[in-house]
Subunit: 324 residues, 2 copies
Amino acid sequence: MTARDIAQKLGLSQSTVSRVLSGAKDYQYSEETRKRIRARAEQMGYRPHAVAQSLRQQRTRVIGFCSRHGHLDARNTFLAEIIGSLQRSCSEHGEFLMLHSFAPGTPDDVAYGELVSGRIDGLILHGNDADPLARRLAAGPLPVVAVVDRITGVPAVLCDDRGGMALAVRHLSERGHRRIGFVHAGRGLASVCARIEGYLTAMAELGLEPHLIEVDYEEAGPALAAIRSAGTPPTAVCCWNDVTALVLLEACAAAGLRVPADLAVMGFDGLLDTRLAGQHLTTVSAHWPEVTRRALEVLRARLGGGDAPEETVIDVSVRLGRTT
Amino acid sequence: MTARDIAQKLGLSQSTVSRVLSGAKDYQYSEETRKRIRARAEQMGYRPHAVAQSLRQQRTRVIGFCSRHGHLDARNTFLAEIIGSLQRSCSEHGEFLMLHSFAPGTPDDVAYGELVSGRIDGLILHGNDADPLARRLAAGPLPVVAVVDRITGVPAVLCDDRGGMALAVRHLSERGHRRIGFVHAGRGLASVCARIEGYLTAMAELGLEPHLIEVDYEEAGPALAAIRSAGTPPTAVCCWNDVTALVLLEACAAAGLRVPADLAVMGFDGLLDTRLAGQHLTTVSAHWPEVTRRALEVLRARLGGGDAPEETVIDVSVRLGRTT
DNA sequence: CGCTACAATGCAATCGTATGCACTCACACG
DNA sequence: CGTGTGAGTGCATACGATTGCATTGTAGCG
């Protein structure tokens, strides 16, 4: 069912059908012609072929998303939130979201080729400067917007990691804590570094001694041991994200440590299912739907030829639980 | 950068470039020509324009996914798992995954139009017969495969809901329980009904009295009250899924009920983060990546013109935790 | 009546690729 | 020397829409 078919049945030209159905201004058609075309199109269930439109208009209305840090699954609440909110924003603007994560081991050439092959108008990229593919994309022709982590040469939209962690420190300080530790799982991500900076800055401003604890992501036992074995053990810890905080909470429960009496714990992200354990955790809640919404706005601005702000920072806020 | 540009620079025709780069058989080209074309394409970073290819070949290599039950976010571990595993399978086969969930209130016409506009070759659909859009898609021209829930007239790939819940009942029976309840949150989904059937069948086979408890999804307090206020309260319950089970576990904790001593609890799905509370829950683990992998195989078979099995059922298994 | 102006529509190019068919050689064979 | 054969390549069209420009008819105006 093509526009030409409709035109033929009505004894009109294909261009007339196209212009009427796409509601082109600058062209006038008689009311009767318009009605006949619309009726026939409706009746035959005609829809303009999106691929042909894309080819002609040199735009697909498809936005790509690519994460270079992990892939989506039941455990990855973070990507679930990001991708889900991207999808909703796209849908609201008549755009489509295409997923582009690559299996580990996929050559960068292949990945790059898939991304720039014209399938998508632009890309929301979750990566960082350490990644060769991200750097290549930053230099390439495809419009890219970075989310969550910065990429040099690419407009970025991220949450206020520094300010958020400072907020966490001040929150604990206001509750009377003076020995506040920070638990993280390596400095791989720029956002982790920013959170550490925020922690260090806030501690310095309060005249407090910082105490960094690096652990394996999955295992909190060693972290707890490190916390307790310190000369003057912290009475509170900021965790770099919620999952680390929860794992730590479980370790506390196993070790018979009371929270927050013996140890106050704060998370970061605000992505845990509040129906479950998440309702108990005090956390710095980043507004990810707002991050992705803005990222898409920035991307649309770039696509429209406008210039985009170098960096957009979205506010965060403390969400109270029962662990501080 | 198009194939024509390359052809011009080399003094060849566009068709030659196309055939060499796409590795068309049935056509012979001199080694030298092939080398020159490949070198030039490499050097200029040429990639065939995917949209033009799609238009010409009448296939996009894009698979759509649409869920009619909820949308993806941090809480929806189920969709995260389904979508994530679909994406990986697609990627392995050189296909792309496009997300098509619609905001509540989107007219079915609009949704249908987006799906059949030629953007995708086929659709993985998570819906059921109660949904008008699903029925319309089932009757339409777009190749569809249903996952998780059945849709009449569409090949379906799902996990063994009946058998799995029977497995759960037998598991509890083997542990000595004879008063086994079933907690669910309404019969909206066909898979829920299948799980209820499996429960009832297994109970009947064991000569036990069934005890169904329907509750609001988010609130377990009433469920627990219902369980305890029964004439002869169950000593164990099967929950229709893991989230319901976890919410119930929290209610138990709040009420001072020991699990499994006072009440054994089983879940269903196997999607909880095993780093967190999930490691404690005994559950029936469905193998969702296998479900989606098979769904894509079935869809590819349909696209290739082959016929697809009416229904594919994927085995499940009990994963032991500490709640039974 | 001649000329302009605009409403209403059609023609044809274009987007970039894949692909059926035709063409040109050179060579081998009888 | 004529001719079939196959290697190596080009021509032209199709995919289905959008869109700049041309064309027709009719009314308005001086």
